[in-house]
């Protein structure tokens, strides 16, 4: 009767959180092109998030909305509904950056069109019989769970990145990344738990990550190159180089490769559960002081 899959990692970290979206807004009117001053590669590596997330998170929301009727666990349903609202606001907030760029003459449409195609067409719905339609939905939920582990990893990194403050990164952009990162950490188990509830086959889970992670890396590399080509202040003169990334990550301005690879492999361990990673308490504490989250209308 009282079976309850909770991790017993100690009473210190808050658990069983109610997930609620926050009605945040961000003002980009003073956003410099290189919002990490003199660090175009760092700036654009983070900027790829704005290219990927609006389309990606709307896709999550779409899939999750259609998964709701399959759920036979009221508590998980509450989590999924909270997740949907949070991801909706994430997509909207990153879209705000794209809209701002457009007013400054930076056109990201060609790249974004490809991402839209990937999520909406390649990974979209098919004319399928009902049973196979459901299988295709759940197979894609495995991909969402894999991506959610990556977003939680990045979110956790963003919450622990004092080097960006020291580099005088734009405070509004840092708040966007950390507010989003904090909500990713807080809801990190939802997609995993949903996949586990509806399917849970280890092979499908691991396969989703091993396919997704290299594609994400590829999209990131392409996105950085695209943004550096389009950057009006660089004028195509500066090319992204791997050694620039390694230099920046050594200075803690970007997440280190070993952490990203390590977390990818960690997800593929059979005993993995998102609640064993990262600190909900740290994320909750950030949300209680984030300028955008504390200003959100309630």
């Amino acid at each position: 009767m009282f079976g309850h899959h909770r991790n017993d990692k100690g009473r210190d970290d808050p658990d069983d959180l109610v997930l609620e979206p926050r009605d945040v807004t961000f003002d980009w009117s003073n956003l410099p092109t290189h919002w990490v001053p003199d660090e175009p590669l760092v700036t654009h590596t983070c900027n790829v998030l704005h290219l990927l997330l609006p389309a990606g998170e709307r896709w999550f929301v779409d899939l999750f909305t259609r998964a709701v009727p399959l759920i036979k666990d009221d508590r998980l349903r509450e989590d999924v509904l909270g997740f949907i609202g949070q991801e909706t606001l994430h997509a909207r907030s990153h879209q705000g950056v794209l809209d701002h760029w457009k007013t400054r003459g930076i056109d990201t449409d060609p790249y974004v069109a490809q991402i839209e195609w990937m999520f909406r067409a390649a990974l979209g719905d098919r004319e399928l019989p009902a049973k196979r339609r459901e299988e295709w939905l759940i197979e894609r939920l495995a991909i969402v769970a894999a991506i959610e582990h990556i977003t939680a990893t990045l979110g956790n990194w963003a919450l622990n990145s004092p080097a960006l403050d020291a580099a005088k990164a734009d405070p509004t952009m840092l708040d966007l990344l950390r507010w989003h990162g904090a909500e990713e950490v807080v809801h990190r188990a939802v997609a995993f738990d949903l996949f586990t509830h509806l399917d849970g086959r280890y092979l499908h889970r691991a396969r989703a990550m091993l396919t997704t992670a290299p594609i994400m890396l590829w999209l990131w590399v392409r996105g950085i190159a695209f943004l550096m080509r389009t950057d009006p202040e660089l004028g195509g003169r500066v090319k992204p180089r791997w050694r620039h990334y390694f230099r920046a990550s050594r200075r803690h301005l970007l997440p280190p490769a070993h952490q990203l690879v390590g977390q990818t492999l960690n997800y593929c361990r059979p005993s993995y559960h998102p609640s064993k990673e990262f600190s909900t308490g740290q994320a909750v504490a950030y949300l209680a002081s984030s300028p955008a989250a504390t200003a959100a209308a309630v």
């Binding site: 808050p14 658990d15 195609w117 509806l198 309630v298």
Partner: protein, 358 residues
Amino acid sequence: MDDYQIPPPDLRGRAHADRMFRMLGALVTGYEWLANGAHSRRPSTQRVDRDLNLVVDEIRIEGQNVRSYRLVAAGGEKLPSWQPGCHLDVLLPTGRRRQYSLCGDPRDRGSYRIAVRRIDTGAGGSRELHDSVGTGCALTVRGPRNGFPYVRADRYLFIAGGIGITPILPMVKQAAADGAQWQLVYTGRSRASMPFLDELSALDPARVRLRPYDEFGFPASGSELLQYAPNQATVYCCGPAPIIANVRRDLPDSAAQALHFERFTTPPIVDGRPFEIALTRSNRVLTVPADRSALDVIRQQIPDIAYSCQRGFCGTCRSRVISGEVDHRDRVLTDGERTDTMTICVSRSRGDRIVLDL
């Protein structure tokens, strides 16, 4: 539906479709083929029962109109663990569902304690508990869930208003046990109406500040309460909506640096009029009373309906309107969208009836 056979245009504007994305499309096709392979069948989804069957073990008077209920498992089992800030969803015998903060000791795995103030003008949940739930009564609850997470910090200011002391009480005890630097400001109509003064008297009196309205007046500002904040304190605030609003507003001018708050009531429906909703797909007509939302009523009939914020900003619950004039109360839909959609969590009908494609 976009055609996934046709990859998107090339990134540099060349005439052919993007070659890499053509490969990505092929990869997805292969992935789908794998997914359809018959190597293992997807296990069927098991229904998960979240109900806890509890029994009222003891009822105590904690203040004017305030009673606490000690709940134990009907079979005497250990209860799920909880943390300060957690609440239970209590299903009352008449079917009402109410949330009450846990205010006992988290280390006690044998019982839960909730405290309830009887509100004569309320929707009836508290009256029902006070009047018809006695010792030995069975109660079904869900949870615990945490809507007000308590996070470790070195310095705290706790602000409680009236029955808002319930989630704060275990936090204060935890902070005291951890040796944190903390202050509690506790307001309420009068000392007699403020529950748990006896338990608070066991704590360091220099840290507990009682400010009943009949002695100090209703707090005129947030600053009046925030003045007790230790430097860089984390504030936990639970109480009447005006107190929370004032504390939120004045926080930037205080010594505190973070604010966690929990409201006990959902925002009231302003100028609500009852109306009917006809649902075409499920072929039903429902009546929305003045004090409930359309979502609330529809959800009882369609439990799988998607919604999220319940405050009209996320847009998850948008539904297609077939006919009827909508009183749009959301802050998300564009004028164009408002011509044929509404967010059912906050928006209502201007007329007597609205027809939805649900």
